[in-house]
């Protein structure tokens, strides 16, 4: 790769570091692992820069970050995924009368964070891509290599789970 290509890469791909880090951080959860995943993704992106061909650099990069994160948690599945992602065991634990009180005490972050962590990765990633990075359904479909219908049903299921975790009072909180 020549200096011109490197300059193009730095212009098109490097600016999306925050989005890349956000996705990696929510997917792999550990700060240092997330940084490793992002760096790995950037090097992979660099090697395959010729496959971008005028598409959206951000969506393209996020697809690579997602793949790197998946590679990462395939390696960690046994130790890291089994327990935290047991949705049934944990769901609803924070719902109930205390929720409004907790929201007032600033514990909503903890509730929401835990609820998000309990989601399986394919549900967590659609929430992060939609709500945090603001991707459209089509862009999420591209980044996750899934049909749009799958994106919509995963979003619906993920939101239902998060609402369930936040409890019935959430509408007043909004």
């Amino acid at each position: 790769m020549g200096p011109t290509e490197l300059a193009r890469f730095e212009e098109i791909v490097l600016p999306h570091l925050d989005d890349a880090f956000t996705l990696a951080r929510y997917l792999v959860r550990d700060e240092h692992d997330a940084q490793d995943v992002v760096q790995d993704a950037y090097l992979r992106a660099l090697r395959h820069f010729d496959t971008l061909r005028g598409g959206d650099g951000r969506v393209w990069l996020l697809a690579i970050v997602r793949n790197c994160a998946r590679t990462w948690y395939r390696g960690r599945r046994a130790e890291s995924l089994a327990t935290p992602f047991d949705e049934e065991r944990h769901s609803g634990e924070s719902a109930g009368e205390e929720t409004e009180e907790r929201l007032r005490r600033g514990e909503a972050r903890e509730t929401l964070r835990k609820a998000l962590e309990r989601l399986a990765p394919e549900f967590r990633e659609v929430i992060v891509l939609r709500e945090l990075s603001g991707l459209s359904y089509r862009e999420i479909a591209e980044a996750t290599r899934s049909p749009i219908g799958t994106v919509m049903s995963r979003l619906a299921r993920a939101r239902a789970k998060l609402l369930e975790a936040l409890g019935p009072e959430v509408e007043e909180a909004g």
Partner: protein, 255 residues
Amino acid sequence: MTDAGHVAAQLEAWLDGELDAAEAAAVEAHLKDCGTCAAAAGRYRALRAAIRVELPALTAPDVLRARVRDAVREAAPRAGPIRLVPWRAIGAVAAMVVAIAGAWKVGVWQAGADRLTDDLLAAHVRSLMPGHLTDVTSTDQHTVKPWFDGRLDYSPPVADETTRGFPLLGGRLDYVGGRPVAALVYGRRLHRINVFVWPERYGSRGPARADRDGYHLEHWTRGDMTFWTVSDLNAEELNTFVRLLQQPDSTGSAP
């Protein structure tokens, strides 16, 4: 719009800005009349607000920013579609090759010869499959020989042995021992004979004769060319054919 179920299904798409203007207007009209759907919409809005406040998008730490930039700049000169293999992997493979080569050296000549006869046999069998026998189909040596010009960096001698009972059927490019080579095809009754020809400088290991899986192979060199012939023709007739090709006046190597 009065179908509450329908609107519920569209609520999220509406909140995500994925509906067109007409669909969005219909949902909004419905929300004015339907308390159930309005409440549902309120919950989604609240969830979105909570996520954006409590789980904000993150800013990459400066240390990561520097790390990524440095890693990219360091990797850029050797990145790209041509060199996809990491140098470290190449180094590891090279080290392995060196380590193995010592132990392997003793058997390499014999193995090379076996690989060559394997290649030749495979090429012969492949040529018998429908449509694979010849690239240029002609009984005329003066058509077949020039066909190889520009396709190979040498000109194989082409002899026509029709009058002696081995008609030339044509020629084709084949791939033997890791190189493109000339293959000439002759017939004898229903049998097919492949003659592979390449310059001796390419290397030519192997026995003068071999039998494999019912096929006979013969090998000779003449001038600066190496010849291998493969056929299921019986060994006597194949040897007759080989001796014909070995005659000085039959090779057509003169222009």
